[in-house]
């Protein structure tokens, strides 16, 4: 084995920095090295990992192997006429944007960070601000190559059980090696953004339901510390890629330039409790006040519209050593009462959450463990050290499950396993497929152990 793939035993956590476990980290650079890593991963199995942006324990494997897939970082082919790209699973969306934007193409779906790999995007079947229009990431995946437990490399096309089990399958069906994606044509690298304020949750939901279809991208930042009449007040930012003629004449020659701001990284050691009710309350108040009541057609760069936090490397450190939990759930249309009740419970509980986001999902995609459902999704960050948080979130899970909703596995680090089958009705199919494709249980993660996936 070459030096680059020599395993290193190290402790691994997700982006939320909770529940560290030890694993051998192996970074394959070729298909052969990947196949060897899977073959030799030992009794406690292995799990592929990308850039470690899953919040919980999805890309950890205590006592076993973790395959760091960022070594498969080649972009193999771009069809600039048809708008498709064939690339290694370890290529980040950031890299794709750097390469594709000058050619007039954009990734079909981007989450709140560019620092995710294509393999991870399929494994978590990620969604973005355009879900109501474009669905989740897997909708734009034409095919991928999957290294399965038997050491075979299979080309997996849309509409097959293996495709649907892998899209959202959290890396448990095998290691994605390459993928072919369909891209979105753009004229510029700028966004034309409309911003407006909503005075409370009902106002917000009415605005999202009423006019979301006018926009390709739509999201609302929601102030979960506001109470009383202001409960659920929010700032909506919605927009689309700016057409060339929206740019001032001078800027049109550099219309497809992709620049990313970069601020100093968050320091490695920050005290806990930096994000308290007081500081977060203050931040939320300012954030809400600073947003214009209504502004249309503002030109924003891609990073500031989609990925504001990517500018601060290691921003997850602001939660201190104790880390944080991200809670994201979805409930279907017609379940607005559940959403209202949960928002009220969170506001009454005074969770210091400064990054809460509400979004209306469109049609679901066929991935068996894919998260999105047509309906409402709310995501919020909470310091893990908040007293009584575990029991509080268990209570929210009950409401979500009773309403036919679910929580997002890519963010989960604490779900009660008993609720999983109710949230994901295709779970049995997923388990049956894994039993068939991976009878020895080679692909295992802390998430799959914790939830018996």
């Amino acid at each position: 084995m070459s030096a680059s793939t020599a395993p290193v035993t190290t402790t691994v956590t997700g982006w939320g920095r909770t529940a560290p476990t030890a694993a051998r980290l192996i970074r394959p650079r070729t298909y052969e090295e990947a196949a060897a890593a899977v073959r030799e991963c030992g009794a406690r199995g292995g799990i592929p990992r990308g850039l470690g942006r899953a919040y919980g324990d999805a890309a950890q494997n205590a006592g076993g192997a973790v395959f760091d897939m960022t070594g498969l970082d080649r972009i193999h082919a771009i069809d600039a006429d048809d708008g498709t790209v064939l690339c290694g699973a370890g290529v980040s969306l950031h890299r794709l944007m750097e390469v594709l934007l000058p050619l007039g193409w954009f990734v079909p779906v981007t989450p709140g960070t560019r620092q995710v790999t294509v393999g991870g995007a399929i494994g978590a079947d990620i969604h973005g601000k355009n879900h109501h229009v474009s669905g989740s990431f897997s909708r734009h995946v034409l095919s991928f190559e999957l290294l399965t437990a038997d050491g075979e490399i299979r080309t997996v096309g849309r509409g097959t059980p293996l495709f649907d089990a892998t899209a959202g399958g959290m890396g448990l069906t095998g290691v994605i090696l390459t993928a072919t994606l369909r891209l979105l044509p753009v004229e510029t690298s700028l966004m034309s953004v409309d911003t407006e304020r909503a005075s409370d949750l009902d106002d917000l939901m009415a605005r999202l339901a009423g006019t979301d279809h006018h926009y390709r991208y739509s999201v609302a930042w929601i102030d979960l510390l506001a109470r009383g009449a202001a409960t659920g007040r929010a700032v909506l930012t919605r927009g689309d890629h700016a057409p060339l003629d929206a740019l001032p004449a001078r800027a049109r020659t550099r219309a497809l330039e992709f620049r990313t701001p970069r601020f100093p990284a968050a320091p490695a050691f920050l005290p806990e409790g930096l994000l308290s009710r007081t500081t977060v309350g203050l931040f939320n108040e300012l954030w809400y006040r600073k947003a214009p009541r209504a502004r249309t057609g503002e030109l924003q760069r891609i990073p500031s519209f989609f990925h504001p936090l990517d500018g601060v490397p290691h921003w997850n450190r602001v939660y201190g050593r104790g880390g944080f939990v991200q809670y994201q759930f979805v409930v279907g249309h017609g379940r607005e009462d559940t959403l209202r009740r949960i928002v009220r419970r969170i506001a009454d509980r005074r969770c210091p959450s400064f990054l809460a986001v509400l979004k209306r999902f469109g049609e679901a995609d066929p991935g068996w463990l894919s998260f999105p459902l047509p309906g409402w999704t709310l995501a919020l960050d909470i310091p893990a050290g908040l007293p009584g948080l575990g029991a509080f979130l268990d209570g929210l899970d009950e409401e979500v499950a009773a309403a036919g909703g679910r929580v997002y596995l890519a963010k989960d680090s604490r779900l009660r396993p008993e609720l999983l089958a109710a949230m994901y009705p295709r779970l049995d199919d997923f388990r049956a497929l894994r039993a068939r494709v991976d009878p020895r249980g080679v692909f295992v993660s802390d998430l799959s152990r914790r939830l018996a996936l």
């Binding site: 529940a19 476990t21 919980g56 604490r414 914790r450």
Partner: protein, 251 residues
């Protein structure tokens, strides 16, 4: 697996009839624990404890385990770990002994020390190796403030806990970075069967309070937990009291 709050799904108790341990287990069952192994000397008390826990919902097994038989620890614990991951091992066995009697009868004193210290070193090392192989888990060791500074009234017990405490601290450092977390719990006077009839010292606590502190410590991945927390300050002051004065303190 433990969740983001350090709550275990499976739990092994060494010293399965300890009241502190059982209070802790009950608390963790109310959270996430679904599999419990109660290891101890076979007795009706062990079976009763298991039956009571079973009524709360989880799968509960009892296993014959004797702290005084270190030769068997490898095999006993090995069988448990072979059944599946153990997210937390609670090392809870220990005897108080009878200070006056033990001073007269060295063989009895040795038994106290062998249980509390030698047995714990053996079981602790065996458990640590198994946890390290699975790459995760917490080893929670019930120490005592009695080990912080030996007192005239129970220095045999105190010295055994001092040894245990030092051992567990070192083990925690040895396992740092292996995914295994070692937490030393130092309760003060706990009102329980073990201390029945003994005069209470100030800051006395209950098994339930120790359980609460353990849950909190798991969430924070603490290395040392005092119960109640104020004992940390009290004991750090007492450590520095001159011998002549300490001897005369009615502790």
């Amino acid at each position: 697996m433990k969740d983001a709050f350090g709550l275990p799904q499976s739990l092994l108790v060494l010293g399965g009839t300890s009241e502190i341990a059982l209070a802790t287990v009950r608390r963790l069952i109310a959270r996430r624990t679904r599999v419990v192994w109660l290891a101890g000397r076979p007795s009706p008390a062990l079976e009763t404890a298991a039956a009571e826990l079973r009524a709360l919902g989880p799968e509960v097994h009892t296993v014959a385990f004797d702290a005084l038989d270190p030769g068997a620890h490898e095999e006993v614990l090995g069988k448990i770990f072979a059944e599946g991951d153990v997210d937390m091992v609670l090392l809870a066995f220990g005897v108080l002994g009878d200070q006056a009697g033990d001073e007269r009868e060295p063989a009895a004193a040795v038994r106290v020390v062998q249980t509390n210290y030698t047995g714990a070193v053996s079981a602790g090392l065996v458990a640590a190796r198994a946890l390290q192989a699975q790459g995760h888990g917490s080893l929670v060791v019930l120490s005592s403030v009695a080990g912080e500074r030996a007192r005239r009234s129970n220095f045999i017990y105190g010295s055994s806990k001092a040894g245990l405490d030092a051992f567990a601290q070192g083990l925690g450092d040895a396992l740092h970075g292996t995914g295994v977390h070692v937490m030393v719990v130092r309760p003060g006077f706990v009102r329980s069967k073990m201390t029945e009839g003994l005069p209470e010292t100030p800051l006395a606590t209950t098994p339930e309070s120790v359980a609460t502190a353990v849950e909190l410590g798991l969430r924070r991945r603490s290395e040392t937990v005092w119960v109640p927390g104020a004992l940390r300050v009290v004991m750090s002051a007492l450590r520095h009291v001159p011998r002549g004065l300490f001897r005369r303190l009615a502790l």
